[in-house]
């Protein structure tokens, strides 16, 4: 048997309009911790979904060799039967069940067809001891913290006799202590012969724990680095992650920057449920007329939380700080106040938070500014049609008419509807959260042009994005945010991906 537990050969996975994986090959040695790095959207998660059977055999091209034989997983159950277990960033535990019940969920220990609770408790006890968790197996999941929940997930994987453990951003939501414990556990499991693939943005962790690191960018493997001997540092990984051609992907633009239009002072917000957890930590930012300001941070850094807490306190608890628009303090304690003050926020998740998918384009566009369409107290639907049609024209929304249902449009066209909706509220400042997520390249270019036109019309624009090249391509200034704090501010003339990536991965106390 070869020394490689896994070989993925020439994997190509195509979604409508997007080539998510392009001829990707990955080799993982038995007993190694193999890290996969890449920006959001690079294709890491897609690759893991191909491996674990979430995308069934036949929906992708290429071959997977596992333990020396070709495998064709149809679903997660198939891959788990072979000892491949994936633990997602969002943990799949049922909060009101106990640790033991969660570990054996859908894998129950039975006797005469009934669940054997004694044996379940006994086995669970062994497993949680193996992962170093000091809790009773009867404790409910909701009563333990995220760090311990992560350990329960690993115990659950062990119960399935895992050989290849895949962890997607395991430490993203953990504090330093829990992260350190988790990494120790992974080293320990490695000693027991369990192979591990870890997807992470925390490059210092990767540098300390991984045997090999594969870098993926735009659905392609860029390189696989041998981490032995500590020769590879964070800088080296960053270089691989960001070093791409940047011509022609962003429209040319010269900004005419005016006076300050928007300022946030000492903005702090806590988690809505865990009200003692600071998620946005004393943030100070400003935006000028005509300026496009980027907010760069890895997932979970507090970007969206910052934006939504400013936008009418629509996220968080115990929010403090001041917002100024055109030098005057603005009232933002409800969403209506925020909109009336001239703030618009276009969400990162347009399907869940942005659009009424079962309604038509025109009613979605008028949704946040319906009062503008009133004539003698009634909505003038002909004017609504006309205004929406103007947006369809100017934004190039591809649909037969504005009476088309929004749910049937492509991602790019839906995003244009979202932008139209907010532009029609006549805002001073637009906060655009991941404005190009899930959109193909051509539509991205159009969205960038729209953003630049907005800035040129004298508005202030904040763009939140996980894609660093995008921010560097269209912004005039970028703030880096990490763990809820602004860790850096870079002017256009100083734009260098490595510098920003360093700020974005700055951790507390480092």
């Amino acid at each position: 048997m070869s020394n490689n537990i896994l070989e993925m050969r020439s994997i190509t996975k195509v979604f409508p309009g997007v080539r998510a994986l392009d001829d990707v090959s990955l080799t993982v040695e038995r007993g190694h911790i193999h890290a996969i790095c890449g920006e959001n959207g690079a294709g890491k998660s897609t690759l893991m979904k191909v491996l674990s059977g979430v995308y069934a055999h036949g929906t992708y091209e290429g071959d997977i060799f596992y333990e020396g034989e070709v495998v064709a997983f149809k679903n997660l159950r198939d891959s788990e039967a072979k000892g491949i277990v994936i633990i997602h960033q969002e943990l799949a535990l049922s909060p009101y069940l106990s640790i033991a019940e969660n570990i054996f969920l859908n894998n129950e220990i039975k006797r005469f067809g009934l669940i054997d609770w004694n044996k379940t408790g006994q086995e669970a006890q062994k497993l949680i001891a193996r992962v170093g968790l000091r809790e009773s197996p009867d404790t409910k999941i909701k009563e333990i913290g995220v760090g311990k929940q992560q350990l329960v997930e690993i115990a659950k994987a062990l119960s399935k006799r895992v050989k290849l453990l895949i962890l997607d951003e395991p430490t993203a939501a953990l504090n330093d202590e829990d992260s350190a414990h988790l990494l120790d556990l992974l080293r320990h499991l490695k000693g027991q012969g369990i192979t591990c693939i870890i997807i992470s943005h925390k490059l210092n962790e990767i540098a300390s724990i991984a045997d090999k690191t594969t870098i993926i960018r735009d659905g392609k493997v860029i390189e696989t680095l041998d981490m032995a001997g500590g020769k590879v540092d964070q800088e080296r990984i960053i270089k691989g992650m960001v070093g791409r051609e940047m011509e022609n992907r962003y429209p040319q633009h010269t900004a005419t920057i005016g006076e300050e239009i928007f300022r946030v002072e000492n903005w702090t917000a806590h988690h809505p449920e865990e009200t003692s957890r600071v998620v946005v930590d004393n943030v100070n930012i400003n935006v000028h007329r005509g300026e496009i300001v980027g907010l760069a941070g890895i997932m979970g850094a507090g970007r969206t939380e910052l934006a939504r807490s400013i936008f009418g306190h629509s996220w968080g608890s115990k929010i403090s700080g001041k917002v100024f628009i055109n030098g005057k303090e603005a009232k933002v304690s409800t969403i209506r106040d925020a909109i009336d003050s001239g703030i618009a926020y276009a969400t990162e998740d347009r399907k869940r938070y942005g659009l009424n998918l079962i309604d038509d384009i025109k009613r979605n566009i008028s949704m946040a500014s319906l009062k503008e369409f009133l004539k003698r107290g009634l909505v003038d639907d002909n004017r609504e049609f006309v205004v929406a049609s103007e947006y369809r024209e100017s934004m190039n929304i591809k649909a037969p008419s504005v009476n088309s249902v929004v749910g049937k449009l492509s991602g790019g066209n839906q995003q244009k509807v979202v932008l139209s909706q907010w532009i029609n509220t006549k805002p001073e400042i637009l906060i655009l959260d991941e404005p190009t997520r899930g959109i193909d390249v051509g539509a991205k270019y159009e969205i960038y042009t729209i953003i630049q036109n907005l800035a040129d019309s004298g508005k202030g624009v904040i763009v939140i994005s996980s894609e660093l090249p995008e921010l560097l391509g269209i912004c005039d200034r970028v703030y880096a945010i990490s763990e809820g704090r602004i860790t850096g501010e870079v002017e256009k003339k100083d734009f260098k991906p490595e510098l920003l990536m360093k700020y974005m991965t700055t951790e507390k106390g480092h």
Partner: protein, 416 residues
């Protein structure tokens, strides 16, 4: 196989593009209603279903369900449900009885003078709105699911109805009060007499019917012109003519039969008024639009600055007032406030709304659709009665109609 598929699809696409601007679902149930009417006209002995008296009865018997269905469709579009409307109707019927008939004979109400009938009605509707304030508070501001709040309300208000009635009935009501449930516009046919009409043909009914038909055509044509002027999609003109001719025949037929009976019921005038007003509210006011937005995507509605709590609150206040009106109509028609009034009416109202094309998940539905849904149920029940179908089979059939109507909805949506 794949060739066939593409062929079939392109045919369907073709059909769909031809039908753009035609609301298939809405027109589908309208056609179903017409079909039912024709079916029962043909099968009932002596075409009993379309005799003047039966048409008149049909209108009078279904009015209070339709009033409930108007409020219910709004609640359902917003993604809620209201199980308490039947009990509220009974409670308000009792309250109206106390107000206008005999406060003096009910223990504890001696302080209240017997109110003039119209003051009593307004006061009773206000009490209904207060009931809505109570339920709206729990749903909108405390965040308890409407299913629970109104399930509790179903018991609470039935209990209050019994308490108010003190285990008896209240009646009879004054003639003016009874007229809203039982009366007819110009029943004596004074207009007909002055014009030299036959005694048994109500002239006022014919005039009102003509006015109704003219109003329909005027509205349809101006709307169509308005849409065309702004380049909006319009129905093919053949369908436009067919649809409105059918509507005209239906309205004309009903009007003529009513003229041969006792004339136009006040209840019908009230219903048409409510349907027009509430259609306007749902389509053309910010309140109505916000209801659709909340039902379509609660999160998006909230992030668009819609005050979701306030909208939910007023929805239930409105539902309470409409349930109150329904209770008054029931009491007026029965000439008595009774403890069992409105029993099970919430289910009829909910069925009307879903047969009328509303979506269980919210966001979809219309007032007119629910009215057609209610009429389908009414015509079906009435026709089966005339055909001497047993109550057992009637329940069975009504259940299937509801199930298949919603199944058709789900199925047609999945095909898209």
């Amino acid at each position: 196989m794949s060739m066939q598929n593409t062929k079939k699809e392109s045919f369907m696409d073709n059909l769909r593009s031809r039908l753009e601007g035609v609301n298939l679902r809405q027109n589908g149930i309208f056609l179903a209603l017409i079909g039912l009417i024709i079916f029962f006209a043909a099968t009932t002995p002596g075409a009993a279903s379309i005799t003047p008296d039966n048409v008149s009865n049909l209108v009078m018997q279904n009015g209070y369900i339709l009033v409930l269905a108007i409020g219910m469709v709004m609640v359902i579009i917003a993604g809620h449900i209201d199980l308490s409307v039947g009990s509220i109707a009974a409670f308000i019927g009792a309250v109206a009885g106390v107000f206008v008939v005999r406060p003096l004979e009910q223990d504890g109400w001696e302080w209240l003078p017997a109110l003039p009938w119209f003051v009593g009605i307004i006061a009773a509707i206000l009490v209904g709105a207060l009931v809505g304030v109570w339920q709206g508070f729990w749903v909108a501001y405390v965040g308890i699911p409407a299913f629970i709040v109104t399930l509790a309300g179903m018991l609470i208000f039935r209990g209050l109805a019994l308490m108010t009635l003190q285990n008896s009935n209240i009646g009879p009501f004054p003639d003016e009060f009874r007229a809203i449930g039982n009366g007819f516009f110009d029943k004596e046919n004074t207009l007909g007499a002055s014009l030299g009409f036959p005694v048994d043909l109500n002239a006022a009914a014919l005039v009102l019917t003509a006015v109704g038909i003219l109003a329909l055509w005027w509205r349809e044509i101006t709307t169509r012109r308005g849409r065309a002027k702004y380049g909006q999609a319009i129905e093919p003109w053949v369908w436009f003519l067919v649809k409105n001719t059918m509507l005209t025949l239906m309205i004309g037929g009903v009007g003529f039969q009513l003229a041969r009976a006792n004339g136009i019921p006040y209840l019908l005038i009230l219903m048409i008024f409510l349907i027009v007003i509430y259609s306007l509210i749902m389509n053309k006011t910010t309140f109505g639009r916000h209801i659709y937005a909340i039902g379509g995507n609660l999160n998006a509605a909230m992030l668009s600055g819609i005050n979701v709590r306030r909208v939910n609150f007023w929805l239930f206040v409105n539902m309470g007032a409409l349930a109150a009106l329904s209770g008054i109509l029931i009491a007026a028609r029965m000439n008595s406030a009774v403890p069992k009034a409105g029993d099970g009416f919430e289910l009829d109202a909910i069925s009307s709304v879903f047969i009328g094309g509303a979506a269980v998940q919210g966001g979809v539905g219309t007032v007119t659709g629910s009215m057609i849904g209610g009429m389908i149920q009414g015509v079906l029940g009435n026709g089966m009665n005339l055909n001497s179908v047993g109550i057992d089979s009637q329940m069975f059939i009504k259940g299937l109609v509801l199930l298949f109507a919603v199944a058709f909805d789900v199925w047609s949506k999945r095909r898209k």
